[in-house]
Symmetry: D2
Subunit: 132 residues, 4 copies
């Protein structure tokens, strides 16, 4: 399951080094996950309404290039099960026009109820993201 989404760098996301501040990568990863879920027909708000949460347990980012205010970025996200009880989202962000790389990485998520207790992934989730 792959999805592409575009965002513009906000002024609030820049820093004094003349590029985006490093933690914004994780916020953009989240935008990518959100839009991937929406594209499945079941937005993440619906997951939470159905009692399923995806708290992060691990995140990794490689910083590959600059991104400045108002640059248009292309976020490509791939989602899949990571074993039987976790999900993994791989993300690549690049400059939309030049295809210059900006950053890439992944996040790994537990699958829990709304109180944070691990649950077995529901059927619909397995159908959407289990590639095996």
């Amino acid at each position: 399951m792959q999805h592409i989404h575009y965002i513009r760098v906000r002024y609030s996301e820049t820093d004094a080094m003349g590029t985006y501040y490093n933690s914004r990568a994780l916020e953009w990863f989240e935008c990518g996950r959100t839009e991937l879920c929406r594209a499945t027909g079941r937005p993440y708000t619906q997951w939470e309404a159905d009692g399923v949460s995806l708290p992060l347990i691990e995140a990794h980012v490689e910083y590959l290039g600059k991104a400045q205010y108002d640059d248009l970025l292309k976020i490509t996200v791939t989602a899949e099960m990571a074993g039987r009880v976790r999900m993994r989202f791989d993300v690549t962000i690049e400059q939309a026009e030049s295809a210059q790389p900006v950053c890439r990485g992944y996040t790994i998520h537990a699958i829990t109820d709304n109180t944070g207790k691990p649950i077995r992934p529901p059927e619909w989730l397995m159908e959407l993201f289990d590639n095996d």
Copy 2:
């Protein structure tokens, strides 16, 4: 009731213009409110545990000068009742060493229960902040 607190500008709070991004002022105002509450002997976490919340209904900021990464800022906060059902915090932020002004402003807060329903201010709150 007045309180003084010091913070350092984080790299994440700077922007490409070479100063702090404008919305950080409101985050620093919050730091000032938090420390003022702690100084009364009743931290804001205790307010919430006692069923009292202070959602913002209004905020105002005047931007007066630059602040760069790692600058030490002095936050001066004054708290008082604004009428019978609201609180007002006035904040001044300046460079700790040079006393150069950075910004100043205020926030006005409703007094509600934890669901957002307005309540009459509890006795202890009136005693702390009612100057009349």
Copy 3:
């Protein structure tokens, strides 16, 4: 000059009170200004390339209602000259579907060169935003 833009509330913009954190309003105001400038045919990056900056000197926000993760928000921005040397942007943010108000406010900006020194507004800026 008025412009309408839509954004989704990010998870990173929520807080433990179950709504958006108050400083996000100023970041959304910025998104509105950015898109209004783009709609004039002269994006704000072009302003900066032409040696014109708009540092904030004042911001005001009234908080009117909740906004939660993934809510679609409608940002309406109006821009105009405020006297001969300042610009003012008025912003209203509401829930796109229900039209429930979220917040409204304004920002006032100096017109400076890229070093922060006040300048006379260039001809093109007056033509775009001077209503008199």
Copy 4:
């Protein structure tokens, strides 16, 4: 070279899941790096004034536990050279009172001049951080 620093979770750093938003970990890592540099007697602002920057090239976070508004967090940072041209900071964040783990991870940084061009680490940097 190890350093310990304490921070309080800000309301702006919480999210609707009732813990800190995941990207804040990277902002707290930065606070830890900043204070470690200061503790060496050469604050990072001095590095930049001396023409040395440390842009991130990689970041990794493991999320281990919750942290809520106003929790006091203990940030432990270790810095060392990673090969001849990179630096690595390892960070552990835990609840200051209970020692419950919050997150841990690392960042890897290039050593560049202020324009982002890689440079040989200056003598003083090697003396501070080269353990071999």
